[in-house]
Symmetry: C2
Subunit: 459 residues, 2 copies
């Protein structure tokens, strides 16, 4: 038998198999699971909030669990400039946690099978449907839980348990969930997987057939299986695009930064006087006022506030030729104003004014490497300005340095070597490359020329 | 002279030209611009808010403009589960408007040139830097403005003025801006462009050279020019991926839906009684309680709230073979819970309970086509459930119908024909395909088989 090698062919081969000796007789098996003693009874909200657990917050009326876990029901006020209706109010489910929707895949007799679970949910039609191997919020796997940990979750939380076939954050019902997104992930393993009696192996062809019946394949299975890749040609680097997207998705899922807007007059540690809004201890920036006269602008004089950084920022990038292609060492950087918390930043972003007062052990990784780079390995080193309509004299030193031979090849967890062509491919889409990384990529292009390849002598 | 045909070669050719007869002597020209009478003086916040315009809101202390335009300075409270510091407060700039950062490109003597502007900003070092052809917020181009409209903005707001080379939403400084993103767009034109004296044509090679000097090429020019595409091979359809991404970016930029969380007890039109939270007039769903016993779950009994839809939702997709490839008619759908407002939805999403009471003229486009499709053109028609851990008996009828010959080939503005392979490529990234579109794509895969091509006889 010829083994199809590339993933797209292997997925197509699994889709052609509509039965498998590895699978139970699915109708009987599912009927058995559905006969188990489940019970889901409607109760009033009064009864719900009288028992331990769910509460209406006295001030807001928001419905939340005492433990702070699960989800909350909050209110949403929507306005639409155009369209009908122009304004409405509705309850909405809020769940900031990113859940893992994970499926384990494994080859049997050369065909990919997927491990699904007969899982009960209280809102399900027929109570039990086929769900992914794992559906788990971070409270299921990172925190103390009153029950058992979710089975098989270690395949998705521990590194190196298998090969990632797909790994992406996807949204869910935007009419019912606020900003909800889950991690859709499929991992292929080669070792033995003990199969608990609520689980079964199915080919993609079997899953496709079950999709022709109502209410068997649950929503979470559908979204994960639906993310399995087709044939898309790829830019090349030391890591595949799937590996890079998975690394990025992993960082987003583990992101630990949480930011909410609060009134400006309730900022702890900040003071507003007649002159400016500033931290008592100096800090990284202030809010100041400016008065402008300019004959050439649409409005010839105005006053406005500006954000005034207190010094020069370093945006430094380490680059290196690997497998014949130029790669950059970028960092998964969490910043509070990002729409989805994490974007790719330079190797180092650092306020240089903090340098004298920051002890060596608290300086960012690779800072010293960048600042002490020998002149012959510096490819670009120019101070550029950030947007002058919002910031007052915001200056960034963009520094690109070729790694010296002693620079470590393996990147720490927050970092990845990504080739220039891969960075260009990511840049077509929103929210991958942050503003400094985009500028550095352009600066890297700007040092290329007929006799050099990104400023490096052609070899 | 041989004209390089593909965009990547044309961009490379422009990068090789470090001078051009179309450009002014740039140093002299810029020096002249910088000598113009600009003035930017620091003033106190007290002085800023004493003059007409900027105000501190009495209740929140947020700094905002009386007109509601420009941007606001608000407070941000950040907590970090891990890392240092674990918590901080800071002012942050909030600007929900999506600005256009647009550059006009045009070939002279077979070489691409880009139209940049010598623009003054009060926070700029040296006051004047080279900015994109247009930097304009929607208040600059959609609303009455006290000054002149931004020059050249019509190239980006009126359809058909040129060919889109790049068009993508990108974030800006996540440490200083809250959820800020701007539309980075380059349009190539062929007709005459009158050049105002503050503007000049530069090749990419000239821009690259200017990047070696500090504070000349401004942040906005850098991010737009940096988005120019490299060579990335593409999945194929009746529209190119660049056209599709531009259509999608355009809808995001024009999005008119604005949603903010409010306390659940301040929802207008909703009532909470002992039993449920529901609208007085029925509405699309309620919030209810449920009491559960299940021996097989981690926790064997619990109570929880669920969102209970009041009926069946239709998610219908019209598909059609075009240029030998199967395409789906998807819709740019705005929903209040989406992280970035718009994702791709099915051709029609509709609450079927609304059907009897909705007059024909208010029914969604293509609904009747889907519901009245002849049996031989129905490719998939199955009711599936949505997530039973959050929703109570939420059912969706997934319906895939092949377009009959009289179905219009041209799509209305909210819709686009996208090929199945293009949809698969988009699905690798977050927030392109909504949950219903992802399910429909999987259902479409599920009706493919050895003798059929997505359920259609192989031709």
């Amino acid at each position: 038998m010829v083994m199809p090698v590339d993933l797209a062919s292997r997925i197509a081969a699994s889709a052609r198999m509509t039965s498998s000796p590895m699978s139970p007789e699915i109708d009987d098996w599912l009927r058995g699971k559905r006969r188990q003693p489940f019970e889901s009874a409607d109760i009033t909200l009064e009864e719900l909030t009288r028992s331990p657990g769910w509460r209406f917050a006295p001030d807001t009326g928001n419905l939340h669990h005492e433990s702070g876990r699960f989800f909350t029901v909050e209110g949403l006020h929507v306005t639409a400039e155009r369209g009908h209706p122009a304004e409405w109010w509705q309850p909405i489910l809020v769940q900031r946690d990113i859940a893992i929707l994970g499926i384990i895949a494994k080859e049997f007799n050369g065909v990919l099978h997927f491990l699904l679970q007969a899982k009960m949910e209280p809102g399900n039609i027929d109570m039990v449907q086929l769900s992914p191997t794992v559906q788990a919020t971070s409270s299921n796997y990172t925190q103390v839980h009153r029950g058992r940990a979710a089975r098989y979750v270690e395949y998705f939380t521990q590194p190196g348990r298998g090969r990632v076939l797909v790994d992406t954050l996807q949204s869910e019902q935007g009419a019912w969930f606020h900003h909800k997104r889950n991690r859709n992930i499929v991992i292929e393993v080669t070792g033995d997987v003990p199969v608990h009696h609520d689980f079964c192996w199915l080919t993609l062809g079997q899953i496709h057939r079950l999709l022709h019946r109502p209410n068997v394949v649950n929503m979470d299975t559908r979204t994960v299986v639906g993310c399995l890749p087709g044939t898309v040609s790829e830019p090349v680097g030391v890591h595949t695009m799937t590996e890079i997207l998975s690394w990025f998705t992993g960082h987003k899922s583990r992101q630990h930064l949480s930011a909410r807007l609060v009134p400006l007059n309730r900022l702890v540690g900040w003071r507003r006087d007649d002159e400016r809004i500033a931290r008592d201890d100096g800090g990284a920036f202030s809010i100041v006022g400016v008065s402008v006269r300019a004959q050439t602008r649409e409005v010839t004089s105005w006053k406005q506030p500006l954000l005034a950084p207190h010094g020069l920022t370093l945006a430094g990038l380490v680059v290196r030729r690997m497998n014949g292609r130029l790669h950059a060492l970028v960092r998964a950087e969490a910043l509070p104003g990002y729409r989805d918390t994490i974007e790719l930043g330079p190797t180092v972003r650092f306020m240089m004014t903090d340098h004298p007062t920051t002890p060596a052990e608290h300086r960012p990784e690779f800072l010293d490497h960048l600042l002490s780079a020998p002149r012959h390995s510096v490819r670009y080193d120019v101070v550029q300005s950030e947007e002058g309509g919002r910031f007052r004299h915001a200056r960034t030193r963009y520094l690109i340095v070729e790694a010296t031979d002693d620079f470590p090849l393996s990147a720490p967890p927050d970092f990845a070597w990504i080739s220039v062509e891969q960075l260009h491919a990511l840049q077509r889409h929103s929210y991958y490359l942050g503003i400094e990384a985009r500028t550095l990529l352009l600066c890297l292009d700007s040092v290329s020329g007929p006799d050099t390849d990104f400023g490096f002598p052609v070899r």
